[in-house]
Amino acid sequence: MIGKLLRKNTSPARIAGFLLSNFIGLAIIVGGLQFYEDASSLFTSEDSFVKSDFLVINKKVTSANTWDRGSSDFSREEIADLKGQPWVRDVGEFSSADYRVMASVNQGGRGMSTLLFFESIPDGFVDAGGSAWNYRPGEEIVPLIISKDYLTLYNFGFANSAGLPQMSESIMSGIPLQLTLTSEDGLRRKVMQGRVVGYSNRLNTILVPDSFMEWSRRELGSGKSESPSRLIVDVNSPGDVAIKKYLDEHSLEVAGDKTGSSASYLLKVVVGIVLAVGIVITLLSFFILLLSMSLLMEKNRDKLHSLLMLGCPVKDVAAPYIRIVVGVSVLAYLLAVGCSECLRLSYTGALEGLGAEKGGWWFAPAVGLLLTLIMIIFNVRSVRRRVINSFRN
């Protein structure tokens, strides 16, 4: 009976207005986030070794510096200038081996060997899971990270034409490479085993641990310190226009940049705008509900007071309004999630055609649920406050 008394003056139009706007706002937020989850795999080529915030940069090679050895190296001043840029968090130098490396593989009696080179970067820039990416002097096996492109070149270029079997990443990792390291003067020599522990999309090199590089240069190197020709830079935001401007001004190139980062940046911006619109609409719908409940309770203020005068518990007086708030909010949320799912069904085919992997299903609805709960909590508190305010004359 209390419910019947207090729901009088309820405006279906206002409640419908809230339902609609809250539904639209939440649907945009949940749908937008879900799309981002689903589409982002298109742009972020998974690379577990180097974070996407890291850029590998080098100077552009032009015909002018082809024969001028060292002209593509970075000087101390240039590195210091780069470090001073506001978008730079840290700069690491590539150091390369100044000795010769010969790698050979013995595959079922067929030997194969090639000249190689090694580079290393500070360990802080490599994320290969602790112990695997480490070398202690005296150890026989050297861990390597090679560019994924090398494997692709071998499988689809070389192996086909040379009649050799194609190799998957795991098979390749299982094959021991025999490494013969020789100093430039040919007087010192070391034979070791190499093992590929990972493949990188973003590092076009053959990477060894920094500790191995130090040790091997001490053992076999010429002792001269060389300036690095490539740098790895940890940046705040890879999409920053300031970065592009700086690189252009100094004729620098970003290696391994498959324009993925700028597309993913664009996706982030677009999703960000969509989310902002969704949040504004949701916020407005929140105020619609808050105001329509206030108006309804103001109209029924005498009744609220009379019920409290009878000794009705505050929670019983608030209950009919709380039921409206919770019911309509939950309904709007369910509709929004349903709408987002329908949207998802409609674009999944297209995205899968582009090679995207489906993203997680729970994150976007969970965010929507969180927003809904926050709105419910605020509205319930406001309802209770209004009931308590009508306690005294």
């Binding site: 005068m309 505050v314 306690f391």
Partner: protein, 206 residues
């Protein structure tokens, strides 16, 4: 105790304001005053609906200042009955619905008893009428029945019979006193000249 609006004025003789007064269970009190003397204010203060007074209000020696809303609500269901002057009935509900709304909160009175009270007060034929369409005298009688649908230590009645004739006044008084005696409760009734006709009532001048 004194209502704040009176604090700047020099008020005439009063047995309630500016004095210490104790109401006891089992006693009947008639508080008489001229209009504007603060009868309704006194009832609202005691019922916790207003706090704009100076002084202290104690229940069984405990100050009511610190009572929380939920504690007041419990008191109102279990210890304090009140019929306000404006009655505070819900005009869109019938007489019976108004009474049952209160009884559903307390679960105190059986349905047959309510019917009996409606009959005693002569409004049983109006039980299914919306209260909004009843005369003030009939509404007062509905309010009286509603007020006693609960356990109470005191019942506050603010001009309960102002629109009743002497005969109905007497019947109502008898009904209230009977219920109060049964519960061992006190009655505090106010009036501006048409008092509830209770025997053995202590008279207080406001």
């Amino acid at each position: 105790m004194l209502p704040r609006v009176f604090s700047a004025e020099s008020i005439p003789f009063s047995e309630v304001w500016k004095s210490t007064l104790t109401f006891r269970r089992g006693c009947f009190y008639l508080v008489e005053a001229a209009s504007g003397g603060g009868k309704s204010s006194m009832c609202s203060f005691i019922y916790g609906a207003r706090r704009d007074f100076e002084g202290r209000l104690l229940f069984d020696g405990n100050d009511t200042e610190s009572l929380k809303i939920d504690q007041w609500q419990k008191l109102r269901r279990e210890s304090l009955a009140y019929l306000p002057q404006e009655l505070s009935l819900f005009p869109e509900l019938t007489a019976l619905q108004n009474i049952e709304l209160k009884n559903s909160l307390t679960g105190y009175v059986e349905k047959g008893r309510i019917e009996e009270w409606l009959h005693i007060l002569g409004i049983d034929s109006r039980r299914d009428y919306p209260v909004g369409r009843m005369s003030v005298g009939q509404q007062q009688r509905v309010g009286l029945i509603r007020a006693i649908c609960q356990p109470f230590d005191f019942i506050l009645l603010d001009e309960p019979v102002s629109h009743l004739d002497e005969e109905n006044n007497r019947i109502a008084a008898r009904m209230i006193m009977e219920e109060a005696r049964r519960q061992g409760a006190g009655v505090i009734s106010t009036s501006v000249g048409n008092p509830l006709l209770m025997e053995d009532a202590l008279s207080l001048k406001l």
